[in-house]
C-alpha cells in the first residue's frame, strides 16, 4: 500500500481528535437538558421572592426553624436507619450467597430480585394487608393462636415504613456486597487461619475490610433511594413527615413552589454530603 492510499484510509488527526467528544455529546446534552438546566432553574426559583426580588428567607426558615430542622433530621435518620438495617441483613445473605449457596445461588438471587418485579404500590398495599389490625398477622395472633387479646397497631407507623423500605432496598445491598465478596481471594482468609486467627478474627480482620467497597456501594445506593422515598412513607408512614413528602405538599396543597425548590435543594445537598462522607469513610477504612 502506498503512503498516499494509507493516508486516505487512516482518519485524519483532526477527525481523530473530534470523534471522542462527539461520541460523548448525546450523553452530555442529555445531562445538560434534563439535569443541569432544571437544577439551575430550581435553584433560581428557591431564591426568587414572590415580588420578583432576591431572597434567602426560605433557606433561613428551613435552617433555623426547629420544625424544619426536625424534618431534615428525620429524613437523614430514616435513610441512615434503613441503610444500617440493610447492611445488617444484607451482609450475611451476601456472604452465604457467595461462599455457601453453591448451586442454589441462582435461586437466591431470583428470590432477592423477585420483590423488585412487582410495583412499589402493590408491595406497599401487601404490607397493609398482612399487618392491618384485622390483617393476617393479627388474626393469627389474636384469633388462631390466642396469644393476644387485642390486635396490635402494626401499620401506619415509622417502624413499618422502615421495614417496608428495607424489604425493597436489601437486594441492592446484597448484590453490591456479593459482587465484592466474590472478588476476594479465599487464600487470604486461609493464610490468616494458618497464621493462627480464628474464624471470627479472620472475618473481622481480613474479609470485612476487603469487602468495604461493596458495603460502601450498597450503602450509597440504599441511602440515596431511601432519602427520596415517597410512596412507602405516604401509604405506611402514618403521618410521618420527611423532605420528599413536604416537597409534594408544597406543590400539591400549598402551591408554594419557591419553598418546594428550596427544600429540594437542601435534599440534594444532604444527599451529596452523605455521599461524600460515605466515600471518605469507605476509602479510609479500605486503605
Amino acid at each position: 500500500m502506498s503512503d498516499t492510499s494509507l493516508q486516505q484510509t487512516l482518519p485524519s488527526r483532526r477527525t481523530r481528535l473530534l470523534a471522542p467528544p462527539l461520541l460523548a455529546l448525546p450523553a452530555v446534552l442529555f445531562l445538560v437538558v434534563f439535569f443541569v438546566l432544571p437544577l439551575i432553574d430550581n435553584g433560581m426559583r428557591s431564591v426568587i421572592a414572590n415580588d420578583g426580588g432576591f431572597t434567602l428567607s426560605r433557606y433561613a426558615s428551613l435552617l433555623t426553624d426547629g420544625f424544619y430542622l426536625w424534618i431534615i433530621a428525620q429524613t437523614v435518620l430514616l435513610s441512615a436507619g434503613v441503610t444500617i438495617i440493610s447492611i445488617i441483613i444484607g451482609y450475611p445473605v451476601a456472604y452465604f450467597l457467595v461462599r455457601k449457596a453453591g448451586r442454589f445461588s441462582g435461586l437466591i438471587i431470583f428470590l432477592l430480585i423477585a420483590p423488585l418485579l412487582t410495583s412499589i404500590i402493590m408491595r406497599t398495599f401487601g404490607w397493609q394487608v398482612l399487618f392491618a389490625r384485622r390483617g393476617l398477622v393479627n388474626n393469627l395472633l389474636v384469633d388462631q393462636l390466642g396469644i393476644l387479646s387485642a390486635p396490635l397497631r402494626l401499620t401506619n407507623s415509622p417502624e413499618i415504613a422502615i421495614a417496608a423500605l428495607v424489604h425493597v432496598l436489601v437486594p441492592f445491598m446484597v448484590l453490591s456486597i456479593a459482587t465484592v465478596l466474590q472478588g476476594i481471594d479465599t487464600r487470604l482468609e486461609e493464610s490468616a487461619k494458618i497464621l493462627g486467627a480464628n474464624r471470627l478474627r479472620t472475618f473481622f480482620e481480613v474479609t470485612l475490610p476487603l469487602s468495604l467497597d461493596g458495603i460502601g456501594t450498597g450503602a450509597i445506593l440504599v441511602f440515596m433511594i431511601a432519602n427520596g422515598s415517597f410512596v412507602t412513607l405516604v401509604l405506611l408512614g402514618g403521618g410521618m413527615q420527611t423532605l420528599p413528602l413536604m416537597i409534594y405538599q408544597q406543590f400539591n396543597t400549598t402551591r408554594d413552589f419557591g419553598m418546594a425548590s428550596a427544600m429540594s435543594m437542601i435534599l440534594l445537598v444532604i444527599a451529596v454530603f452523605c455521599l461524600f462522607l460515605q466515600l471518605r469513610l469507605v476509602r479510609r477504612k479500605g486503605a
Binding site: 470523534a19 392491618a132 389490625r133 415509622p158 396543597t253
Partner: protein, 349 residues
C-alpha cells in the same frame, strides 16, 4: 470502519431539523384548529369523561378531544408556565385552585353567549369561582363506614369525634398530602364543632383527642384499603366514591351525610386564556343536562344542571347541593397555608 466527521454530524442534524420544520410544523398548526386537549382524573373518571363529554363533543364538532390525565395542581402549573399557548384547553379544577387561576387572570370569563348551557347552572355555583368557570359536579365529604363492623355508625361529626376519641373504632381520615383535606376535613369539622374559617381550633383539639385511634389516607384508594383490610372501621370520605366501591362489589360499605352537613367538594371547569376556542363547545357539552345525567349515573356524584333528573338508582345517593355545607372557598384559600403549617407542626410527626 465508518468515521463520523463533524461535518457529517452537523449536516445530518440540519437535515433532520429542516425535515421537522417542513413536515412537522404544519401538522402541529393544523392540530391546533381541529384538536383540543381536555383534562380528566384517572380511573372511572376518565371513562366517564370520554363517554359522557368527549364522545358527544366529537360527534357534533367532528373535532378531536385528547384527554390528558393528571390533577389540578399539575394542570394549573402547566398553564402558568405557558400562558401564551396553554398545553390544555379545558381545566378540571378544585374550587380553591379555580379561584387561584381566576385571580391570576389565567382563565376566561364564562358567559351564556359562549356556553348556552351555562343558563341551566345555578348562579351561586358560577359565582363561587368568580364567574371564570363553574362547578359541574360535586361530592359530599361525609362519614363512610364498614357496616358489618360498625352496626351503629356515628350520625354527626361531633359523635364521630367523641366515639373515635373513646377508642370505639379506628378512623381513617385524609392526610395533609391530599389536596382537598383543608376543605373536606379541616374546615368541615371545625365548622361542625362550632368553629369556622376564622377559627379552626375545634378541629385541632378534636384531632388531638382522636390521635391514638386515627390513621391517614394519602389517596382515595388508600382509604378503601384501610376499610377492606380492617385497619380502620370508619372514616371521612366522599359519597360518590363510596357508592362506586359499593357497585364494584364492596357491599359492606355505606355512607352517611353528617347531621351538620358534609362539605360540598365541587369540581370546576375552566378555559385557559388563549386556549383553542373549540373548548367552549366542549364545556357546553360538560354542562349539558343529558350528558351530566349519564355522568352522574357512572360517577355517583351530584351534577349541577338544574334540568338533570337522576335515575332511581342514584337519586337516594345524591345529596342536593343546597343541603351540603358550602365552603367559603375564597376565604379558605387565604388561610389554607396557615392551616397546613399548623397541621404539620401539631399532627404531622
Amino acid at each position: 470502519m465508518t468515521i463520523i466527521k463533524r461535518r457529517h454530524f452537523l449536516g445530518g442534524s440540519a437535515m433532520i431539523g429542516a425535515g421537522l420544520m417542513a413536515g412537522g410544523m404544519p401538522r402541529l398548526a393544523n392540530a391546533q384548529s381541529t384538536e383540543i386537549t381536555v383534562t380528566a382524573f384517572g380511573g372511572v373518571w376518565e371513562e366517564a369523561v370520554r363517554k359522557c363529554f368527549v364522545a358527544p363533543f366529537e360527534a357534533k364538532t367532528k373535532a378531536k378531544a385528547n384527554v390528558s390525565l393528571g390533577g389540578p395542581p399539575q394542570w394549573l402549573a402547566q398553564v402558568e408556565a405557558n400562558q401564551a399557548k396553554p398545553p390544555v384547553d379545558v381545566l378540571i379544577m378544585t374550587p380553591d385552585l379555580a379561584l387561584t387561576a381566576a385571580k391570576s387572570g389565567l382563565v376566561d370569563d364564562f358567559t351564556v353567549d359562549k356556553i348556552p348551557n351555562l343558563a341551566k347552572i345555578p348562579k351561586e355555583l358560577t359565582d363561587s369561582v368568580m364567574g371564570k368557570g363553574t362547578l359541574f359536579d360535586y361530592g359530599v365529604g361525609g362519614i363512610t363506614f364498614h357496616k358489618e363492623r360498625v352496626k351503629n355508625p356515628p350520625k354527626s361529626f361531633a359523635e364521630f369525634v367523641d366515639r373515635v376519641s373513646k377508642g370505639e373504632f379506628v378512623a381513617s381520615v385524609p392526610s395533609i398530602a391530599y389536596a382537598v383535606t383543608p376543605i373536606m376535613l379541616i374546615w368541615a369539622m371545625a365548622k361542625a364543632l362550632g368553629g369556622g374559617v376564622d377559627n379552626v381550633d375545634p378541629f385541632f383539639k378534636a384531632m388531638a383527642k382522636m390521635k391514638d385511634n386515627l390513621v391517614f389516607w394519602g389517596g382515595p384508594n388508600d382509604f378503601f384499603n384501610h376499610l377492606s383490610s380492617g385497619e380502620a372501621e370508619v372514616g371521612i370520605y366522599f359519597d360518590g366514591r363510596t357508592w362506586n366501591h359499593y357497585d364494584s362489589g364492596a357491599t359492606w360499605i355505606d355512607f352517611i351525610n353528617p347531621e351538620e352537613g358534609g362539605s360540598l367538594n365541587g369540581v370546576a371547569v375552566q378555559k385557559p386564556k388563549n386556549a383553542n376556542p373549540l373548548a367552549w363547545e366542549y364545556i357546553n357539552e360538560i354542562l349539558d343536562a343529558q350528558n351530566q345525567t349519564k355522568f352522574a349515573d357512572i360517577m355517583n356524584y351530584g351534577v349541577t344542571n338544574s334540568d338533570v333528573v337522576y335515575s332511581d338508582k342514584i337519586k337516594p345517593r345524591i345529596t342536593p347541593w343546597q343541603k351540603t355545607a358550602f365552603p367559603p372557598y375564597e376565604q379558605i384559600a387565604q388561610v389554607r397555608n396557615e392551616w397546613v403549617d399548623r397541621w404539620n407542626r401539631e399532627i404531622g410527626r
